[in-house]
C-alpha cells in the first residue's frame, strides 16, 4: 500500500523539482534539499542548504569543525529535532517531503551510522543486528537469522563473528563494533545510509575495511558520509560537498572539487590553509 503511494509520487518528481539541472539528472535524485535552515534555539547552524544527492552514489561532506556537517546529516532523517533543534526548507527523499512522513517510517528508509560505535550493550551480536527487524515486527526465527547473516556479510563482519553471535555486542573491538552498527543499519534495508565520521574512532586497518565497505554498498544504497579526512573523501566518494560556517560553499564531483575547486574557501581548506 505504502509502496504504491511512493511509486505514484516518484512520477511527480520532475514536476516538483524544476531546478536548472537536466531532467535525466533530476530523475536520478534520491535526496534533495532546498533552502534548508537549521537552528538550535536561536543560533542558526545551517544557512539555506540546497543540495541534490543522486541515487546510488557516495556523497562526502567535508568542512571544518562546527560548520554544520552533522547537523545537516541529522536533518535528513529528522534526528535534528530529537536534540531539540528546528528546521525550515524542504527535504525530499524520492520526491516525498520528509515532513509528511512519520519520522519512525522515515528513519527506516534513511538509516544512520554514528561517529562512535553504539551497539546495544545488553544485546548479543545477533540481537543487535536483529533489533531493527524486531522493531519492524519481523519475528520469524529463520527469516530473522537469514537477514542477520546477510547484513553481517554485507558489513564484512560475518566471518569474524559467526561463532560468537550470542556474545555481547560490546565485547567486540572498536572497528568490529562499528561494522556491527553498519550491519544493524543495513538489516532494516534502508535506501539511504547516513554516516557521521564512521571511521574517526578507528585504526587505519579498520578504516580501510569501512571504506571498502562503503564502495561495495554503493551498488544498492545511496550513501552520505561526513568525514574530516580529505583523503578519505577523495577515496570513497563520487561527489563532495564543502560546508563552511553553516553554508554550502561548493558541491561538485569529487575529482573536480579536489583538483580544481571553483571557490577560494574550498581551495584554502583542501590545501590546508585553514581548518
Amino acid at each position: 500500500m505504502q509502496e504504491m503511494v511512493i511509486e505514484e509520487r516518484r512520477a511527480d518528481v520532475p514536476l516538483i523539482i524544476s531546478s536548472n539541472r537536466t531532467t535525466e539528472r533530476t530523475m536520478d535524485v534520491k535526496v534533495a534539499t532546498k533552502n534548508v535552515d537549521a537552528f538550535f534555539g536561536k543560533t542558526q547552524a545551517l544557512h539555506g542548504i540546497s543540495l541534490d544527492v543522486p541515487r546510488n552514489t557516495v556523497v562526502a561532506i567535508i568542512g571544518p569543525s562546527g560548520c554544520g556537517k552533522s547537523t545537516f546529516l541529522r536533518c535528513l532523517n529528522r534526528m535534528h529535532e530529537v536534540a531539540g533543534g528546528t528546521r525550515t526548507g524542504t527535504i525530499m527523499v524520492d520526491g516525498d517531503d520528509i515532513d509528511h512522513y512519520d519520522p519512525v517510517v522515515l528513519r527506516r528508509r534513511v538509516g544512520m551510522v554514528f561517529q562512535k560505535p553504539n551497539p546495544f550493550p545488553t544485546m548479543s551480536i545477533f540481537d543487535n543486528v536483529a533489533a531493527g527487524l524486531r522493531l519492524n515486527g519481523m519475528v520469524k526465527k529463520n527469516t530473522l537469522s537469514e537477514t542477520v547473516e546477510r547484513s553481517l556479510r554485507q558489513a564484512a563482519l560475518f566471518d569474524e563473528v559467526k561463532d560468537i553471535l550470542d556474545r555481547s555486542g560490546v565485547s567486540l573491538s572498536g572497528g568490529q563494533q562499528q561494522r556491527l552498527c553498519i550491519a544493524r543499519a543495513l538489516a532494516v534495508d534502508p535506501e539511504v545510509i547516513l554516516m557521521d565520521e564512521p571511521a574517526s574512532a578507528l585504526d587505519p586497518i579498520a578504516t580501510a575495511k569501512i571504506e571498502e565497505l562503503i564502495q561495495a554498498l554503493k551498488k544498492n544504497y545511496t550513501i552520505i558520509i561526513v568525514t574530516h579526512n580529505m583523503q578519505q573523501a577523495a577515496r570513497v566518494s563520487d561527489e563532495t560537498a564543502f560546508f563552511y560556517l553553516g553554508e554550502l560553499i561548493e558541491f561538485d564531483e569529487t575529482d573536480r572539487l579536489f583538483t580544481s575547486p571553483q571557490k577560494k574557501q574550498t581551495e584554502d581548506y583542501i590545501t590546508g590553509r585553514f581548518g
Binding site: 517510517v105 528513519r107 527506516r108 562512535k116 553504539n118 551497539p119 546495544f120 545488553t122 544493524r184 532494516v188
Partner: protein, 337 residues
C-alpha cells in the same frame, strides 16, 4: 605544636604560590619542602583515621549486638529464625512472625511503589521538558525529607479510616474470594503498612532510577531512534540497558522499607500473627524492638530483642551493600562505553 607548624607551612606554600606563578615542587628550599610533605602526610593520616573510624563503628556495632544477643543465640540457635512463638510469659522467643511481617509489608510496599517510581523516573529522564523536570524532582526528593512520624500520623488519621470505610469493604466485595482480602476490615494492618511504606520508598527508588537512566548515554537512544524505534521502543531499550541499575534502586528501596520503624509501628496493628490476609494486623522486627525494649523484663527477653536487631542490621547492610554495588557498576559501565 605540630598543628601550628603545619599551619605555617601551608601559609608559606600559599605565599610562594602567589608570588611565582605555579612554582615547580623542586624549586622550594629543602626545609620548606620537607615541612610541606610533613603537612600533607599529617593531613592524609588524619583523614585515614576518620575513614577507618567509620569501618570500626560498623564492626563495633555488629560485635556489640552479637555479644548482647549471645544468650538468645545459645538458647535457641537457628530455631530462633523459624519459631513463630513470641511469648514473654513463658520466656520463649522466635522471630518468624516478625520476619514475616517485615518481609510482607516491605514487599507489598515495593509492589505498590515500583511501577510508580520507575514510571516517574522514565518521565523525568526521557520525556519531561527541563522546566517541569526540576520541580517534579524537587518535590519527590522533598518527600524523603519528611519525618516518618508525620507519615505515621497521616496513616492513622487519613489512610486507616479510608481503608476501613472504603477500600477494604470494596476489595472484600469484589475480590473477597482471594485469601489476601479476607477477614474484617480493621484499617490497621499489613495493607496500611504497605501503603505508608510505599509512599516512603518512592523518593529513593525514583531518584536513583532517574540517575541510572540518565547515566545511559544519549547515543543509545539515538541508535534506537535512528533504527526507526518509537519513543516507547526507545525507552524499552534504555530500560533494558539500565535494568541492573533499576534492580539496585529497588533493593535500596527494600532496604529502606525493611528498616523503617515509626510509621509502620503506628499503622500495622502490632499483633504477632501470620495471616495471608492483607487486612490482618501484623508486626515487624523494627516495631517489636521499638515497642518492647523498654519493658523487657528478663535477660533472655532483652537478648532476643537484640538478636532481632542484629538480624535487621545484617539484612539491611547486605541489601544496601549489594544494591550500591549494582547501581555503581551500571552507572560506571556506561561512563566508559
Amino acid at each position: 605544636m605540630t598543628t601550628i607548624s603545619t599551619h605555617t607551612t601551608i601559609l608559606i606554600r600559599e605565599r610562594t604560590g602567589g608570588e611565582k606563578s605555579s612554582p615547580p615542587e623542586g624549586v622550594s628550599t629543602g626545609a620548606k619542602h620537607r615541612n610541606a610533605n610533613l603537612g600533607d602526610a599529617a593531613f592524609k593520616i588524619v583523614t585515614q583515621i576518620f575513614a577507618f573510624l567509620v569501618f570500626a563503628l560498623v564492626f563495633v556495632m555488629a560485635f556489640e549486638m552479637y555479644r548482647g544477643s549471645e544468650d538468645s543465640i545459645k538458647k535457641f540457635g537457628w530455631s530462633f529464625l523459624t519459631n513463630t512463638v513470641w511469648d514473654p510469659v513463658k520466656d520463649e522467643y522466635g522471630a518468624l512472625v516478625f520476619i514475616f511481617g517485615t518481609m510482607v509489608s516491605s514487599l507489598l510496599a515495593l509492589f505498590l511503589a515500583l511501577p510508580l517510581s520507575v514510571g516517574v523516573a522514565i518521565f523525568l529522564s526521557e520525556l519531561a521538558p527541563r522546566w517541569l523536570e526540576r520541580p517534579v524532582s524537587f518535590v519527590i526528593e522533598l518527600l524523603a525529607a519528611i519525618p516518618s512520624i508525620v507519615y505515621g500520623l497521616w496513616g492513622i488519621f487519613v489512610l486507616v479510616p479510608w481503608l476501613r470505610t472504603s477500600v477494604e469493604p470494596a476489595l472484600v466485595k469484589n475480590l473477597g474470594f482471594l485469601p489476601f482480602f479476607e477477614g474484617p476490615p480493621y484499617g490497621f494492618g499489613m495493607l496500611a503498612a504497605g501503603i505508608v511504606l510505599a509512599i516512603m520508598v518512592i523518593p529513593i527508588i525514583t531518584s536513583i532510577s532517574r540517575d541510572v537512566l540518565r547515566a545511559i548515554p544519549m547515543a543509545q537512544r539515538e541508535a534506537a531512534l535512528a533504527l526507526g524505534a518509537t519513543r516507547w521502543e526507545t525507552t524499552k531499550i534504555v530500560l533494558s540497558d539500565g535494568k541492573s541499575g533499576l534492580l539496585g534502586a529497588t533493593l535500596l528501596g527494600l532496604g529502606r522499607a525493611v528498616g523503617e520503624t515509626m510509621a509502620v509501628t503506628m499503622v500495622i496493628g502490632n499483633r504477632p500473627e501470620i495471616s495471608a490476609s492483607l487486612f490482618a494486623p501484623g508486626y515487624t522486627m523494627a516495631s517489636v524492638i521499638a515497642n518492647e525494649f523498654a519493658e523487657a523484663t528478663s535477660e533472655l527477653y532483652t537478648s532476643s530483642l537484640i538478636e532481632l536487631a542484629l538480624l535487621l542490621f545484617v539484612i539491611t547492610v547486605l541489601l544496601n551493600g549489594v544494591a550500591r554495588i549494582i547501581v555503581w557498576s551500571t552507572t560506571k559501565k556506561f561512563k566508559t562505553v
